[in-house]
């Protein structure tokens, strides 16, 4: 974990430095590639902000959230209202409250404000939600996602209902996405090493013992939830500036599936896992998306199969859950290899159920 006290400064920041350097390298390589590759990399970086955001809550608390796409949506729509040109807003959203109708913010400020808007909603929502248990809290976040989707689909004067929001300045570049991805990873790294992050991880491992040590759980979860909603909101804003338009169904179950797949495949227990999962699943999703459109393989025409990508991803995910539920990284952070082969640090197996030993006997009694 992050805090073996004997480690040198360099080793201590390795969990952050390794993914940041890798992300920069990917961008550097992509800057020589075709523009379609650059777009894919930009999408991946925006996803990285989102997945790292989800990781701040899910990874540290061990509680799943289905609601983060809802925060992403809030960020995206808030940002759209902050940045769409005033003239266009008059036409597209004639009933927008006057405060917002006259307002245009520069993109970086708007992304920040969008993140804050999502964080504010998260704070309100967490008042009832964070008191719930490991089993019911995810369902409540799902209810939140449905509420957000309904509000987006019906609040005509602000969101255009089920219609498309147009005219968001398209200015998410690979560089700005990289910048936000680095910010997200720094935030996640600082949080997981902080007092609150460590307490929250203690609750994740053994809630009863953590409570017995005087950790209240609710406050720690709330802080992580709000922080992670901020990042998800910022990701939503970046997404809007990447595509230039928004519609409510983009922020629903498919997106939720994709972001959870990224986090779980990589391993929800570490920042390295969030990074690995995002890169791998983004790449796989892009390849599958192209395969869906039909392709030629050794002279053979493979016909278009819409939906194939989702099926393949879901099957891979089921296999991963059965054989490697802690993901590729198994909760380990990235580090610098030791010369002379020191003993690896033992990582607590966070994905094992406490009752595991009791149930270990396979087969029937």
């Amino acid at each position: 974990m992050v805090l073996a006290p004997t480690r040198s400064g360099l080793r201590r920041v390795a969990p952050l430095a390794v993914p940041v350097i890798l992300a920069c390298l990917i961008v550097l390589l992509a800057s020589f590639a075709a523009s379609s590759v650059q777009r894919t990399v930009t999408t991946m970086l925006v996803n990285l902000v989102l997945v790292v955001g989800l990781y701040v809550f899910v990874g540290n608390s061990g509680v799943l959230s289905f609601g983060h796409i809802g925060f992403m949506a809030i960020g995206a729509y808030a940002d759209a209202i902050f940045t769409i040109p005033v003239q266009l807003k008059k036409v597209m959203l004639p009933h927008l409250p006057a405060v917002f109708a006259q307002l245009t913010l520069p993109t970086p400020v708007a992304v920040l404000a969008a993140g804050l808007a999502a964080a504010l909603v998260a704070l309100l929502v967490s008042l009832p939600l964070m008191r719930m248990s490991l089993v019911t809290l995810p369902i409540a976040t799902l209810a939140f996602l449905v509420i957000v989707r309904q509000v987006l689909g019906n609040w005509e004067s602000v969101t255009r209902g089920v219609g498309t929001m147009l005219g968001i300045p398209i200015d998410t570049t690979m560089t700005s996405a990289l910048l936000w991805a680095v910010v997200a990873m720094v935030v996640a790294f600082l949080f997981q090493g902080s007092r609150f992050g460590l307490r929250l991880r203690a609750c994740r491992e053994e809630e009863v013992a953590a409570r017995a040590l005087g950790i209240g759980v609710t406050a720690e979860r709330t802080i992580a939830f709000v922080l992670s909603a901020f990042l998800a909101g910022a990701a939503g804003a970046l997404y809007g500036h990447e595509l230039g338009s928004l519609y409510p169904d983009a922020f629903y179950f498919s997106a939720t599936f994709l972001v959870i797949t990224m986090l779980i495949i990589g391993g929800s227990g570490s920042l390295a896992g969030a990074f690995t999962g995002t890169v791998l699943v983004s790449a796989a999703a892009e390849i599958l998306r192209r395969a869906e459109g039909g392709f030629h393989l050794a002279g053979l025409a493979v016909p278009a199969r819409p939906g194939l990508g989702a099926i393949v991803l879901a099957v891979v995910m089921l296999l991963a859950l059965a054989y490697r539920p802690q993901g590729i990284t198994r909760g380990r952070e990235s580090g610098i290899p030791r010369l002379g082969g020191g003993r690896p640090v033992r990582v607590p197996q966070s994905d094992e159920h406490p009752d595991r030993l009791a149930n270990e006997t396979e087969g029937e009694v």
């Binding site: 061990g62 019911t136 449905v146 989702a310 859950l321 270990e360």
Partner: protein, 294 residues
Amino acid sequence: MTGFLQSLLDSLSFGSLFGLTALGIALVFGVMRMINFAHGELIMVAAYSVFVLRGLPLPVTLFLSLGVAVLVALLLERAAFRPVRNAHPTTLLVTSFVASYLLQNVVMAVAGARPKGVDVSPELLEVISLGNLRVSTIDLVTIVTSAVLIMLLWLLLSRTLIGVQMRAAADDFLMARLLGVRANRVIAAAFAASGLLAGCVSLLLVARSGSISPTMGLTPVLVGFVAAVIGGVGSLVGALVGGYLLGLATVLLQTYLPSGVVGYRDGLVFGFVILILLLRPQGLLASSAERTRV
């Protein structure tokens, strides 16, 4: 008064559907401590079976569709859920979410994403007038079918060996196993029963709406979750109570909300759920599942 009776009748009919869905979810939760997202897809699969088998005589079609729902439930248990049975609750939840997404996309790839129309039986949609009350046959069928199913389930759980074993496993799985309850058998039984309930809900829904789509399972399953959570996860009676309460809330909001706000109905219902959980985080009738054991 008539208005009130009408609302009551409507909410009974809605509530039956919600309650049956919640029961199916609670049955599986009891033995596996897993909230089964794929329950909605069992409903969807049964509905597509009705569509595929529509040429056969009606009773045969309905019977086979129920069979398909049970079969898919057992298949899911064997292929997706058994390998993760002892995993962390979060892993279980993700697994069921993925299983549901997979089934949806398979049906979408095979049958297309567009909704399709199915006519189960036009007579069911006829409306009977009782004084000032307007009752459609499907409402009566829904209420009666649910009552019969609930009775049958109660007989299963209280009078048969496997039923008693299911209740024992729901209370304390390890203890039940130590006393000779076969894990694979009770879990399979719970999935089969929940598949049957999903199939019945599906038939009632399709007969009512006449349309099917790959994502049709979502709404009922969400409502089922919420009903189960309000009632207290894992408590079967709680699930039923939660279902009927939600039916009542939905119908009342639909009837009495001003027309401008009706679009937000489901959002308001879910908001109401958060309120209940704020007052009783463990649900109305808490079961042993929510108790922390040290």
